[in-house]
Subunit: 475 residues, 3 copies
């Protein structure tokens, strides 16, 4: 077998008329810096700048795209190093975990995980053989050796990857201490994102404790609805002060209907009492309250200028037994039908034509691209259509997104490419793939004489770099 | 920069095997006459045959595809010449409006507006430079000069555009006077379409006034449910007498469930009383009543042979403040999930197998093509599947429509191409684009040996010309 | 006109870079045996091995894909040989029926019926002219002559078609006598499939009678809920003993929520009493009961190892008048919105991570591929994503399925190709077409350097042969 390499034209259209145009467009944007405003890399990686542990902990264990596929083919989570919440009982030998991943390489055919991982292994780690049970140890050793090199520490990789700016996701009660250190060392390069989800869902078991964390962090008592709002507002201001540009919201529904203040206040109090006496609030009441709080978040965004990222429509922890044993984010999160036209209406009626507001909406229900999100983003100046998210951040899904949304929303109403990952080393692969897919789409428009080549090159640069900068710019 | 021209192969597939086949199919149909049975060009344009006013009033101000995109990028409607309902306060200099449009040309990349407008500017007005802030005045002058030529008056353009027949959309209470004049001057060429929407939605503020207009036009008192039905029936007969071939219905839902007569009658009376004393009927009651009235319209179609065009699934005036200030049709209309399988069932059970009935169903929720509309049109002889509508009247969306619907419905159960526009000069561009996209789709079937070339050419002529004629032929 | 032939590259991608790769992949799998685990060919065809009657009865009358298209274009079912339930009054001359089909050949352009039928006529029957009113008799005679040949009897065709194994669909109360004969003559080649649908829907008029059939077949009284469950369990065991590998379930909804035993039991009793005294159970109660019974079927599958095939989401007999006159399966079955994420949750929570359970889920609502089914199949080991079903078993729909589902579920979580037809002679055409479409999809991945050629060939063989064998293997 010949050496495993990356083809320079990978992910570009095959047809011989379109490919050279796509290559020309791609080459014009391939080296633009990376703007990575939404992700889940732990801020401590950059703050402490310690070497990454081992190949399995870096590439396999925390990546639920990857572990879920192996589970679907019969692996047990503990065999992949994913431990139960309350104890040991999982594989601790990273080499063994990595072998299981390599032995399952076949199952990733046709998935973006395969594509990204191939890019990472070849481009970052210099691997030259295809993963398999036979090659696992050789690949493991090569990655481990590379990780020992000081030029592969997190901050060095920011440079190597060409990342101009990266956002982390931080709980509302975060002290932002690490970000303070980073602001001193790498000014403007690693920014916090305000994520208040658990605080906006009062039926969750963790709510009461999280409220207390919020009170501690803000110095404002959260035992009244007014105090709760004030504490949230205080934390948002702290994020702004720490360089934050955005908030992030992951709700089951896209509903943003506000409640009258007294109703919201009494739901808050009912939840607070229920949290101690066990009565709680109903699911329907929680849904109404969290929709109301999305509206409040939008209203606060108009005040403080934080861009509101909205990621609704995922039924988390579809198998509650897995969540109880292994915790959240283990691959059992399933998209559901998501309605935006009515759901976003209250926020858009109130703030959709305001230059002080910016919402970026993401979806994993691709039906809404042409039916709802492109028409909404194509008229409301405050709304930008986010890049294909999560399961849709994949070559064919990205192409479908362009084809479904562009004809109604154009390019200027989009966020440009936004990755969303906890797999740090996949970031360059993800951006590179997006640039290739966009180059292919634009090349088809050129080949079909629907766009001129200079326009296509200009648009490719917008999608790769300028639109994300613009979408997340302070209001 | 070289002169701006239209490429002869534009919108045909890029791949070198499929393109020459597509070109051959397209060339066989490109000069067929245009049948434009559904549109919103004002009948007075043809009746009075006055010259079009100026480039901005012709091409920019009334085209909500175009103004909505500029609004989404920060323009204010008044800056684009769109005035508040009750007064002045908007840009009145057409040259200034046209400059704003040209300066925003970039934002239309990838949209059908860009494609159609390029066709219009080059083909109709002989423009040779790309629109931009710099070229705006030059283009404006050239269009203005062209419009002054008597061969560019509306009736002359019917000939220039190759329009064999065009439908207008007229309120049920229209006197049809202009159509009488046109029937004398241009027999069978400009036909009225019966549009009763406001009369079928009793919760609208305008309903009482519209009922009175209906009474005046029909000479039948509309203060009872029986009178209301009789008046509608009288107006339908008047439209038939004036050459009308079709009705048109734009409802939020596709529900067609009939009510018992006494229930319908009492809802009518409740709405009528409520309209004067302010009590009104509920939203749910209005929905039930308007669904009932769709069933009545279908029943009347069986009697009088008018083809029933159905355009459901758009949430109109998503931002009510914009509607209150600027009126309807300003770009704030958003598609919503639309259910046809249950919705159309009452009408199809009753009339779906009748040779006396014809419904053409359109959608802006493209999910229903393969799931519902193609299966329904593929068995009920009375149902035809309409062409991709509104946001979906675009190259990639049209291709998706063919791919999603043809395998189940075939071609014979489709309406062929139907445009839907108030932008008169875009009609030839829209038909030409549809012919190109269909040629591309058919060429792929030929290239994949799924259809013979002679069949493809025959089908292309059906889609462009014969099927629309057939779909709208008197029952 | 030149002779009508099948192009060797039909249904492969047109572009000159991808086609030769597709051809290479296709050629590697074209001769693999056919595994046809889900279908509706009558078991008596194989048990009795009588010659097929005539061309119309073989190819036209029982094929609702075909008759529905002719009905949509104005034919009456009786003209096509489809008789009313209770009597004569339909065309009995097969030649006349065949003429009507050939005269309507144009209407099938672009549909899979056209593609399959062309394959059958040319490849199986040696037809060399395109069907039309003029050629109908010539084609009829040629087919009739072929059918008279003993090598065209059903069992001989199993060999000719390369069918290694074929499943039939049998009511739960089937004696399985024919299968006993076949097990002796053709061991392991024709297998029964347990289909209990009518027994799980207590509001159907036939329910009481079917319960009695179940009691007779099982020898267990079905007048209590416990007896009913025991009788179902007994029949499942009989199917297992007869070589059955799977069950099959066609429900309107994908809901699988179990009820408490006492609630299920009392609904059963209410239905049983209602069935005699006319009171019955409500539609909502029936829905709850049939969802509960799906859960019971899954639980029994864990016990007995039968693979659970699930085909929800079709509104049967959309026009009840047609069903009353002509019976079910006459082309008036329409897909509806189908929700799987919540619907399957109870069964997946209970058994989704069990190695003893296997469900294969099919859909005619293609929206759920990327949103729900691929994410579910991509994590739960017990769930496999079925091949595109019914209206979606068509070239472009199959391609959309691959593009929508593969990036999230990979190939290993799919069933591979599964046909679903009562048209025996279409089986080789359907498998051949699926192999071609998959070769085209895989070739694109190769041409885009997203997959290596050896991987593509290996995957094509999985999809065509190994995955179906594996998906239906005994647990």
């Amino acid at each position: 077998m010949t050496a495993w390499t990356l083809h320079p034209d990978r992910a570009l259209p095959a047809d011989p008329v379109t490919r050279p145009i796509a290559r020309e467009i791609y080459e014009a944007v391939q080296d633009l810096p990376i703007v990575s405003m939404h992700g889940h890399v732990d801020v401590t990686a950059f703050a402490d700048d310690e070497p990454f542990p081992d190949p399995a902990q870096l590439l396999v264990v925390p990546d639920h795209y990857l572990t879920r596929m192996l589970v679907s083919q019969g692996a047990q989570l503990p065999e992949l190093g994913v431990g139960p919440v309350d104890g040991p009982g999982f594989e601790s030998d990273p080499r063994e975990i990595f072998r299981r991943f390599c032995a399952g390489w076949k199952h990733f055919r046709g998935t973006p995980t395969r594509y990204w991982m191939e890019h990472e292994l070849v481009e970052i780690f210099g691997v030259t053989v295809r993963p398999s049970a036979e090659t696992a140890d050789q690949i493991y050793d090569q990655i481990a050796e590379t990780l020992a090199d000081p030029t592969f520490r997190p901050r060095a990789l920011l440079d190597r990857f060409g990342i101009e700016i990266i956002g982390t996701t931080d709980p509302a009660w975060s002290t932002l201490d690490e970000h303070a250190r980073l602001a001193a060392d790498l000014p403007g390069r690693v920014l916090p994102t305000f994520r208040p989800d658990p605080l906006l869902h009062p039926a969750r078991a963790t709510w009461q404790g999280d409220l207390e964390r919020l009170a501690t962090a803000s110095g404002i008592a959260t035992d009244t609805y007014a105090g709760y709002l004030a504490a949230l507002r205080e934390r948002r201001a702290a994020f702004v002060a720490a360089g934050g540009l955005a908030t992030d919201h992951g709700h089951l529904s896209a509903d943003t209907t506000p409640l009258p203040d007294d109703v919201a206040s009494s739901l808050f109090e009912k939840a607070l009492r229920g949290s101690s006496d066990g009565s709680g609030i109903s699911t329907a009441e929680e849904s109404a309250f969290s929709a109301h709080m999305l509206f409040q978040m939008a209203a606060m965004s108009v005040e403080d200028g934080l861009v509101m990222q909205f990621h609704p429509g995922v039924l988390r922890d579809h198998d509650p037994a897995v969540a109880a044993t292994f915790g959240p984010d283990k691959g059992y999160d399933i998209p559901v039908v998501t309605e935006f036209a009515h759901g976003l209406r209250p926020v858009l009626e109130a703030f959709g034509n305001s230059a002080s507001f910016r919402m970026i909406a993401f979806t994993v229900d691709e039906d809404v691209y042409s039916r709802e999100l492109a028409p909404l983003a194509g008229v409301y100046p405050a709304l930008r259509l986010g890049a294909p998210w999560w399961f849709l951040d994949a070559p064919d899904a990205m192409r479908r997104f362009r084809e479904a949304a562009t004809e109604t929303a154009g390019f200027s109403n989009m966020s440009g490419f936004v990755d969303d990952t906890r797999a740090f080393c996949s970031i360059p692969a993800r951006h590179d793939l997006a640039r290739r897919v966009d180059a292919g789409y634009l090349a088809r428009l050129v080949a079909e004489h629907r766009l001129d080549l200079d326009e296509a090159v200009d648009t490719a640069a917008d999608l790769a770099y300028h639109l994300p900068k613009l979408a997340y710019a302070a209001r």
